[in-house]
Symmetry: C2
Subunit: 546 residues, 2 copies
């Protein structure tokens, strides 16, 4: 029996080898690994000449290694942590440092925690607004069933209401509305979103920002992201999604599984077509090689799935869904310096700004202090602005950005620069994850994981938890593999979805609720309280005077 | 010298043969025809086993022929009219009849002109609102440069403002707002639009309709459509886009060009990849056949363009644009009856309704009275609802719809039924045209016609006039062919875009302005006038009394 996993030519980036997950290409390899461990004969067809997909660790003696794709892991991402441990990979805690820079609308300030939005707002009413909207978002998110968000009671409404509209409806002060506008301009303008929920919240906290009204992501997407682990888990470094990186680079997860699978992984084999007959699926690659399989797992990123010609053709709903998914616009850069001089000046290397081309940057010096570097993310509109530059021109623009944001001309003299322009990557179509337009989730979302004959679909975009992360990629790959095992009668239907036990090495502790956040009134409640106090005062005065 | 035109496998629907235009597949053949007439050696690679793409004329002795794809032509569509005449094809005037049915929210009424929105509104203020918004839309549209709508002064704003938001801002009465809501629910819900501007305006006119707030198309798209020829040209039958059909079917345009090109048209040859070297582009088909060409014209519909693997890869902006374009959801049906009994009952066969599955239907009896039939369009959300039914089930649902809408049980007994589910069509991805999400046009639109090396891009989606129509397909195919001629030094740059002389056989007359439409005040103007009259009256009374 052959189980073919296909990574079509556009799956290339996803990368590991075969059906690699839609993202981070872990999926394909994870599925193949699980199936092989169950005694099946698998083949992994990888479009690129490397495994790893949207994880991409580049190596060079001058800078050691750098993750130019997916990189961070953290508590509650128990699947990727389990897999990394099994493959004998170590993680290290990222040093976020102390002093980050926020630079919006020409106003520069430093802060010890860009995540502490409450502390950033210098307007007390704005603080109430901010607190209330985060609390309300969390509460509304509880109504969304993660595995089928289209069934949420208000799904249709939330699927066409942008987060900006939600904020405009809920907020009483302009300061918070302005802040939130910036998010959309920076990350979500015209839906070329990065799909990076962590940044959404981080940028919400920036006190000095404003932007023209624009499009933003849809509430239901936001709610679904947040519901998984909660806003603080998603946005935090310590105890959150950005806590750790994998020593040696995230692509090693794929490389090590590929080594286990040996010659069952076939590189540079983009899939051309999948023909399904009664008992067999025939997978043909660009070079004409054919694989006959009882089952196929596709880990091709959904926005580029129709690169594969299906015969019979894909069902209408799946064909329409994949046309309505688009990958985000991202260029990830690493700029190297002789010394980490910014630390001597008291900067952590972290900065958020609206001046572009970089939107968010963070220190990427190795834990032992070697290869001092800053990782800079060029996102959405800024990525479009510079995507036609040469890498040399982008390097210059990035260095000028650092010099300006940190007010430090030493940044103009890097010793090295590497980048990955995911926008131009034909095998993944973009990064980090796919985004959906208005109404798409509720109208077409049901088709996302639906198998088609002998073909099953993986990809971090199909994950229920940590959707869009490496952990979601592992979840989806293993789920698809268990769907195949169920179809073969080897496991029961209720074994397809499995809970993951908590990682013993990277424990997660619940975030302590700040009692203040729970009891602080919203702006209208505050005004009612004021009014009640006024009435009370007047009553007392009335009694006292008459 | 070889000029290859490619119709990738997904281009199939587009249809004619080669680079066929993105839509109506005329493009590819038109380009090939023009290039061959200029003395070049061309090859047309057509993905399907037929030419014609999104025009698709099905033939059978039981019903003669039927256009299951693009069909209508009309005055000012001078390019397709010129081409049809050159190919010795005739057109006939569609008989729209007299009595159409409007059936919304359970209220059925008949009307002599579904396009006469002014006559339909039984609320005088609503009529002022309606008149004002149509007038204002036309005026704003004048600010949009057709060839580069992203350069309009308020492009960014209009590209994220939905038509619904525009109407909500501009309208004072709920009756018109309700009417317009219906459009979005029917045609544009969650952007699964049909891209059919004619219907937008037709449905705007329906007096009894309402829908939950939802997403709608973006103003700039609407303005661009309208600017081409004006709202009445787009929506009208007589003197408008729905005036005529081609005798024998629209696909004949492609078939006749294919006959002229002979064995230069290669059917069933979906393109797999395009490799560009210094002086040559190598086009490889799925079957491994290779064509070496100096230039290539792609008429693959843009939403499915990344089915072709480009080496070097497509530029970032083009790759991102095509991910953000999606084809509409449409199932076109023709139901045949023994007699045109509806005409005996005084119905034209035209109806608009919100009950589904059909949204709009119209008589399709042949001009000689043979093969009595109703054409029914199943659109957007309704198409999603029934796309997983069997054709037999859909036939039943369509007949029940006609019986209900026309209150006439004879519709339950058809003698024949044919349909084309474009939603499931892998070569075109859908119909009629591609739609764009919020902000996409201004952010990525510039890439739409931009050549990539030796590859030029056609498709009705790239047309400046009659974008989305067969005429736009011809325009884009001929423009792309002239771009190639210019690149070869055979014509100058200013010869690329050519004005088309008016068709002598299908003359267009200007629509007469109804003076009332010009002078009727808007609702606020009307209220000001009332107020002024009141002040005047009070002044007179004051003078008279004191």
């Amino acid at each position: 029996m052959a189980v073919s996993q296909i990574g079509s030519y556009f799956v290339g980036q996803i990368g590991v080898r075969s059906p690699n997950s839609c993202s981070y290409d872990l999926l394909g390899l994870c599925a193949a690994k699980l199936l092989q461990e169950s005694g099946l004969d698998v083949r992994v067809l990888e479009a690129r000449d490397r495994v790893g997909g949207r994880t991409y660790t580049k190596r060079d003696p001058s800078y050691g290694y750098v993750d130019l794709g997916g990189s961070y892991v953290g508590p509650t991402q128990d699947r990727i942590l389990r897999l990394a441990k099994e493959l004998d990979l170590k993680t290290y805690v990222v040093d976020m440092g102390e002093k980050a820079v926020l630079y919006f609308e020409g106003v520069r300030q430093t802060t010890s925690d860009t995540g502490m939005y409450l502390a950033q707002l210098n307007n007390p009413l704005g603080m109430l607004d901010s607190n209330n909207i985060f609390r309300k978002t969390q509460n509304l998110a509880q109504q969304v069933p993660l595995a089928a968000p289209w069934n949420a009671p208000r799904a249709k409404e939330w699927d066409i209401m942008t987060v900006q509209e939600f904020i405009n409806n809920e907020c009483w002060t302009s300061s918070f509305t302005c802040n939130s506008d910036f998010v959309f301009n920076l990350l979500f303008y015209d839906l070329s979103t990065t799909g990076w929920p962590g940044v959404i919240y981080k940028v919400w906290c920036s006190p000095h920002s404003a932007a023209k009204p624009t499009r933003s992501p849809y509430c239901i997407t936001c709610f679904t992201w947040l519901l998984g682990e909660g806003e603080r888990r998603v946005t935090s470094a310590t105890n959150g999604a950005q806590e750790r990186k994998i020593v040696g680079g995230a692509m090693q997860v794929s490389e090590k599984i590929a080594a286990l699978l040996g010659d069952r992984v076939v590189l540079s084999s983009p899939v051309l077509r999948i023909d399904q007959e009664d008992t067999v699926a025939i997978v043909t690659t660009h070079s004409g090689q054919q694989y006959r399989a009882k089952y196929v797992i596709s880990s091709v990123p959904l926005p580029v799935l129709h690169r594969i010609l299906f015969e019979p053709p894909l069902p209408a709903m799946k064909l329409q869904l994949v046309q309505r998914m688009a990958m985000g616009c991202i260029i990830k850069t690493n700029t190297y310096y002789r010394t980490a001089f910014w630390k001597e000046k008291g900067f952590s290397g972290e900065a958020l700004s609206d001046i572009g081309p970089v939107s968010y940057c963070v220190d990427d010096t190795k834990p032992d202090g070697s290869h001092p570097a800053i990782t800079g993310f060029i996102l959405a509109g800024h990525a479009r602005d510079v995507c036609e530059m040469s890498p040399e021109e982008r390097k210059q623009a990035v260095c000028e950005y650092y010099a300006e944001v940190f007010q430090c001309p030493e940044f103009l003299h890097p010793v090295n620069y590497v980048e990955q322009n995911w926008m131009a990557d034909p095998f993944s179509g973009g990064c980090f994850v796919a985004t959906l337009g208005p109404g798409v989730l509720t109208s077409f979302g049901r088709a996302i994981r639906k198998p088609f004959g002998k073909v099953y679909f993986a990809g971090t975009e199909t994950a229920v938890k940590w959707n869009g992360y490496m952990d979601g990629a592992v979840e989806s790959g293993e789920r698809a593999a268990r769907e195949v095992l169920h179809a073969m009668g080897k496991i029961s239907e209720d074994q397809i979805w499995q809970e993951e036990p908590p990682s013993p090495d990277v424990p997660h502790t619940p975030f302590e609720d700040d009692p203040l956040e729970k009891i602080l009134p919203s702006v209208p409640q505050f005004l009612y309280i004021l009014l009640a106090l006024l009435v009370l005062l007047l009553s007392v005065l009335w009694v006292y005077l008459f």
